[in-house]
């Protein structure tokens, strides 16, 4: 049997996939509050933008985050069309290191103009030791590794996604 081909999420996903975020009268199954920040002393915020090949911020992308460190399995989804600066924002906790790997979040990116979603990962700038030894990061050409590392100010991590260009984010074939 052959795989069902992928097609773009298109520009109109919001009322189906992220309805409450976009203020449609339909319940969202999932949002960007993967944990309630007030309930977790390890809560972190992930914030970023998605840029196209002309350096323009993309305001109709949908980002999903999945994390599983064996203890916490968390999933979030957010569209870039409701924030004034077209950012995505997630509230979660930093995953633990598994088997000595650097901790990371799995990211899935969907947008109009993308016929198959892209996979990337978010690593953390304050995990220098583990990042340096990490097997996956070592697979990535050294001059591109930085595109996978979110930079933190306190517990806020900034992670921008570049679809093309000199700083194109590393996307994975998983």
């Amino acid at each position: 049997m052959r795989q069902t081909p992928s097609q773009t999420v298109g520009p109109y996903f919001a009322y189906g996939l992220t309805p409450e975020q976009y203020l449609y009268d339909f319940k969202s199954l999932v949002g960007n509050e993967m944990v309630s920040p007030l309930d977790h002393d390890r809560a972190i915020t992930i914030v970023g933008k998605v840029f196209d090949g002309q350096g323009v911020v993309i305001s109709d992308a949908m980002i999903e985050i999945w994390q599983n460190d064996g203890q916490n399995q968390l999933f979030g989804r957010f569209g870039t069309g409701t924030d004034a600066e077209s950012r995505f924002i997630f509230h979660t906790i930093k995953p633990a290191s598994v088997n000595g790997q650097a901790p990371y979040l799995s990211v899935i990116i969907f947008m109009r103009g993308q016929q198959i979603h892209s996979y990337t990962r978010i690593y953390f700038s304050d995990e220098t030791d583990l990042n340096t030894k990490d097997a996956v990061l070592s697979l990535v050409p050294e001059d591109r590794r930085d595109t996978l590392i979110a930079k933190n100010k306190g517990n806020i991590y900034e992670f921008n996604i570049y679809m093309q260009g000199e700083n194109e984010t590393v996307f994975f074939d998983i």
Partner: protein
């Protein structure tokens, strides 16, 4: 001992990232080679949804957002089975759909097409597959709509689908088309699928699923990425 490795995307049926006839791909398609990743815990798992997430009318778009009557248009049933490449059903997995109304208009705020909105039709729904991987939606047949890709560009009738499957390698977002639609021959989104894959995106009329004096039935099956078992790597 063995371990499971999920197959990659089958590039013989999936569209390429860059298909310039679909103009938005030009500045949004990744250009650098993908980095092949050894699947680990995060790739071999994914979010789990349960029936508790889904409301009792979520699978029935003809009822789930009515305000003062019934939605206008041709009632249809879309049903089928979710499987993986190994031929096994994918049970208890979430399917989400969204679509235009019968006039070809999306509720979405950026849809500027001058066709009427239907106060009784949002166009969003979801359900879980049953223990055999089967799903079923009731909805209204979506209309064709114009878009700005090129002069006189029209999207064929289609329903957008989002599926999760066994783990995040299984994630699939796609569009289902209808048999005999003349617009398919002109649609760069559909035509970006290699010829081998195109018929996999067209549902089949299903008289058996058609409900007498009520709604036409269409069948659409999904095949998600399967897996291979390989001997365990010893380090």
């Amino acid at each position: 001992m063995s371990q499971i490795i999920y197959n990659s995307f089958d590039r013989e049926v999936h569209p390429a990232y860059l298909t310039p006839e679909y103009k938005s791909t030009i500045y949004r398609a990744p250009q650098k080679p993908l980095v092949l990743l050894k699947q680990s815990l995060s790739e071999l798992t994914g979010p789990v949804f349960g029936d508790f997430n889904v409301g009792p009318l979520d699978h029935d778009l003809t009822k789930n957002t009515v305000k003062n009557g019934e939605p206008i248009g041709e009632r249809i049933i879309v049903h089928g089975k979710v499987m993986n490449e190994n031929g096994y059903p994918v049970p208890n997995t979430l399917i989400e759909i969204w679509q235009a109304n019968s006039a070809g208009r999306y509720v979405h705020k950026v849809d500027q097409h001058e066709a009427p909105l239907d106060p009784n039709f949002l166009g969003a729904g979801r359900c879980m597959t049953d223990s055999d991987g089967n799903y079923k939606f009731y909805t209204i047949k979506p209309g064709a709509y114009p878009w700005g890709n090129h002069y006189n560009a029209w999207r064929p009738n289609h329903i957008h689908f989002s599926l999760f499957g066994a783990n995040i390698t299984n994630r699939l977002v796609t569009q289902m088309y209808f048999p005999g639609d003349p617009l398919l021959d002109y649609d760069p989104v559909f035509l970006s699928v290699p010829p081998k894959g195109r018929e996999l995106l067209i549902c089949k009329f299903d008289l058996g699923a058609t409900e007498p004096s009520f709604a036409l039935g269409y069948r659409f099956d999904f095949v998600l990425r399967g897996y291979k078992q390989t001997p365990f790597e010893t380090l």
